[in-house]
Structures are given as structure tokens and as C-alpha cells.
Amino acid sequence: MASSSDQVREHSCFQEWIAQQECDLSELLHYMEAPANSDETSAAREVCLRQLVDKNIRHFQAYSEKRIRLARDDVSPFFSPTWCSIFENSLLWLGGCRPTLLIRLVYALCGLQIESQLDKFLEGIRTGNLGELSARQLSLINDLQGRTIKEEGRLSSCVASLQEKIGDQPIATIVNESSSEFLEPNAKVDEALDEHEQSMVSMLEEADRLRMKTLKELMNILTPLQAVNFLAASKKLHLCVHACGKRRDRFHGRRGK
């Protein structure tokens, strides 16, 4: 019925997102690499960086809202997207990245920068990057991590319960009572599956909400410069995994992604 056009819309939603990510990344890199303008006060630069961060968050938000709208019509593809590489799909947690992955990325970037700049740091040279997370920032991030792990756990067990439900009533009963005509369309089964998909839409919404919440909180903990650094790194990571995944698909003879 509407399936082919659904697929087209879902696919293009993702393609637009990837294009948006690329565009945002080059803007972020541009700001990071631009030499500090001597006329520009540091406060003005900070305002500028903060606006850039806010813009990126708005883009995330817009993408999330758009795909939820599409998911309300047809949710399953978002849990196993045909527009992503098989490798990306193997990484999915409820239709996207694990929110705690963001924390790990902060630690990795912090570590990378601190190890390479330790000598300079001890000499008192400061660059304001992620290696310089303050005690308070680290504490807030640790706290955020704890809460996010808990929330992830809660959602994971909700989805586990939904998945188990497929083996339970009413579908199990319907299938068991019908002799062999279960291959035929069955209104009751469809009804049960529709209900299941509705629940999955809620799961996707909740997962997206947690991803957004984690990102926003993190952006508030980081300084604007650190936040810009982080966003650039996260987009590089996403685009890299997407590109590598597609290459792997081609290597293994899977085509048409």
C-alpha cells in the first residue's frame, strides 16, 4: 500500500540527516580551526561557540522529531534500518546510539588530550580543551553517567519484556489454535502486532528522549569550546562508522545500500 513511499520517506529522512551531519561538521571544524580573531573578545567568541552548539542540538532535535513522526506510521524499520549498513545496525540500541556512548567518548577525548599535553599542562599551559575537565565537570559527568546507565537499563528491560511478549498471549494462543492457516492473513494477529508496534514507537520515543537529554546535559556541563570539540568528534565518529560500514557491506558482496 503506502509501503514503498514510506520507505522512500524514511530513507530520505536519514540521507538528509547524514548530509546535515556533514554540513554541521565542516562548520564546527571551521570554527575550531579559525584563529582567534584579535578584535573579538573571548566573551564574544564564547557566545558564538555556544550558539553553534545550540544550533547543533536543534538539528538533533529536528531529526529526532521527524523520524518519530515517520515511525508512528511504520516503526519497525527504525529498529533495523535498511538505510544503514549492517555493521551500523549491529551497534544500534533502540534505534540509535547508546546514550552512555557519549560519556565514553568524552573520556576518550579527555584522555587523548591529557596524555599528549601532560608536560605542558604541568607547566601551566592551558588550552581549554576536553583534557582540562575540571573536578566539578568530572563529577557532573560521573553523575550523569550513573543516571544514564540506570535509564538505559530501565528501557532495555522494557524492550526485553515487549520482545518476550511475542511468545505469549494473545499471539501464541491464536497461532496454536489455528491448524495451519496461520500463513493466511489473520485479523487478530495483525491487531496484536499493531499493538506491539505501538509499544515500540513509545520505546523509540523514550530512547530518543534519553539520547537528547544526555546530549543536552553534557553540552551544559562542557564549556562551549569543549562542547564544540565534542560535537565535531562525535560527528566524525558517526560519519566514519557509516562510511566504513558501507565499505564492509560492499566487501562482503552486499549491495544497494
Partner: protein, 408 residues
Amino acid sequence: MAGMCYGVNMGETETSTPVEPSSKSARRRRMEIHQFNFVPNDSAVAPPPLPKKKRQRIETVVDPVPPPPRSCGVEGNVLTTVPEEEDEGSTTTTFDLSATTSNDVVPTERPKFGMTSVCGRRRDMEDSVAIHPSFCDSRSGLHFFGVYDGHGCSHVATKCKDRMHEIVRDEYGTGELSWEHTMNQSFSKMDKEVTDWPRGANGGAASSSCRCELQTPHCDAVGSTAVVAVVTPEKIVVSNCGDSRAVLCRNGVAIPLSVDHKPDRPDELNRIQDAGGRVIFWDGPRVLGVLAMSRAIGDNYLKPYVIPEPEVTITDRTVEDECLILASDGLWDVVSNETACGVARMCLQSRRPPSPPRSPGSDVNVTDAGESSDRACSDAAILLTKLALARHSTDNVSVVVVDLRRGQ
């Protein structure tokens, strides 16, 4: 190594270096920082602290960390509490000691310290840290520092955090002369408490927000390391059980004040075998192939091979002492004693230079000149923690840095 003999009573220990697989030590050596280019006392010393503009914003956006349970000059230094424990309520105890401290007319030497404790790359937080300045009374100048790294679940480490300093205080109050005896008794009582706890009439059921929910038999397989330092005006008393570690930084030299209890440490191996136990290599040496340390609080099911008896070292303080570092193996697995001391002492020696205006978030806690040393300890603790994360520590990381310099 010479430092090991410096007024240190190593108890029954006969070897002084923990045995370490050569490949691991080689890896550690590779990971050492080759050189510090820091020049002490250069022109960068003691600049004015930066005005803090950013902090308020951060505070309004995110829930602030609960304040530390102490009153004496630790604001902003106590960094992190275990996330799971925050709702528990039981860990934010109020101590009768703090009242006496704050009302004291002539405070004794105020300890300066910094602390960081993070979950890091693990999904469960099982480390706990306890810091109690003037934990016996306000005049004796005895300060308590403890790091507990739990395994199996978090509740034994949490219990140690809540109770160990009280037990030590009570033991000390009995007038027992020897610190060694006091600490031995304290660890033994601590162990008894955690062992009896789940079976007790009012069990842990009410306060068990931990993973295992104190269900037997699982909770028999839970334990914790404990490294406790009591710092007196004259001495540093370190009691250790397990593989957390205390290291003294004295005139730039790293002096371990505890020796990790690893099952393959020759004397520990003998003790375990004499008791009828075995050490089996299963992802490293483990008691009965299970536990990768030979002493711990708790772990009832591994007794008598795994014992709660601490090794106690008593070290006379000297004017050359710079700082004491207590940390869980999340730090020591990836940062050597020497590197840790090097980093900590540089942080203590260098007053914070002004940061460029773009990094306000890196500079949030400085209050007044009186706390700048606490700030330095805090800087040291956080830098060591970040270094551990940088070197891919996969464990929880807890670090306490205590300033031992006189007359600062």
C-alpha cells in the same frame, strides 16, 4: 626501595615488591611519562586565581553534587559520590564529629586533601571513599582516609565507607597502645559486621539498593579491598587489605606504604596453601580460581584463604614528606607509583597559573587563599584520575591525595 625501611614496619611481609608479570611491567614502563619539563618556582608560580564566571551557569543547569558531609574546608574537593548510593540516603550520614570541629576554638592541623571517585568505563560503581578529618576528637589531630574497592557488589565497600572510621575510633578509644593492634581489631570487626549484616534481624533489606539486594548465597561472594590511612601529627598509619594502595611521596621519591595482596605474592601464596587453599591461574592468579586478591573484607565463602587481616605500616612523618596518595587499582593498574607521585607533587608545587579566558570551566573551585592547597590536592587527584582514564583504565577510579607538607 631504601625508603621501605624508613621507619616502616611491614608486619609479616618479607618481600617488598609485588610480583608482576614481566610483560605487564614492561607495558607499564612504556606507558611512563618520559620526562617532566616542569621547572619549580619559576615565574608562573602563584598568579591570582581567575574570576569565575561560568560556574553559576553550570550549577543552574545540572543538579549539584550533594555537599560533602564535612565542614572543614573541603567544599568543592569532595568530588563524587556513587550514583547508586545517592538515592539511598544511608551514605550521607551526619557525623557528631563535625560539630566539634567547627566549634573548636583552636583547630589542630587542618588536613588538606583532594578526592576523586568516578565510575569510569565500567557500568557498575563499586568503589567507595571515606574521608574524616579529626575523626577521633578535634584535638588529637588524627585524620582518617579510606579507599574501598568492592567486588561482586557494592554493598561491602559502602558499609566500609560508612562504618570503618567509627570502628577505628572506638577501638582507638579503648586505649590500646599499639596502632597495629587497633587496626587489626578494627578490620576484624569490620569484616564481622559485613558478614553478619545480611543475616541480621533487620538485615540490609531496607537499605539494599545494591545489585545483589543482599540475597544469600550471592552476597557471601561479595567483598572489598580496604586501604586506610590514619594521619597523626607524627605518623602515617596505613592498614591494607587487598590491592588498593597507599603511596607516600617523600622528596620526590615514591614510597609504597602498602604492598598489594595478590595471590601470587610468595608469602601470600604460602599462607593460602598452608591453609589448604589453592591459587589457580584463570585470567591471572586467583584464590581458588575466583578472587584476584588474597585478602579482603567480606568474601565469606573464601575464608580462611582470603582473610581480612590487614598489613599495617607505621611511618614517621618527616619534613620531606609531600603527599600521600591512596587509590584503587583503577589507578594503579595503569599509572606507576613514580608517575603518580611525579604528577601529584607537580600539582602541589605549582600554584595554578591563569588559564586562558576560553576555559572557565576548568577553574571552578578556587575560593580564597586559605584553600589553595586543598585546591592543589584536588587538582592532583583529578589529574591522576584523568590520566587513568587516558590510559584506558577499565575499572572504577578512586584517588585521594593528602598534603603532608608542614606549615603550608
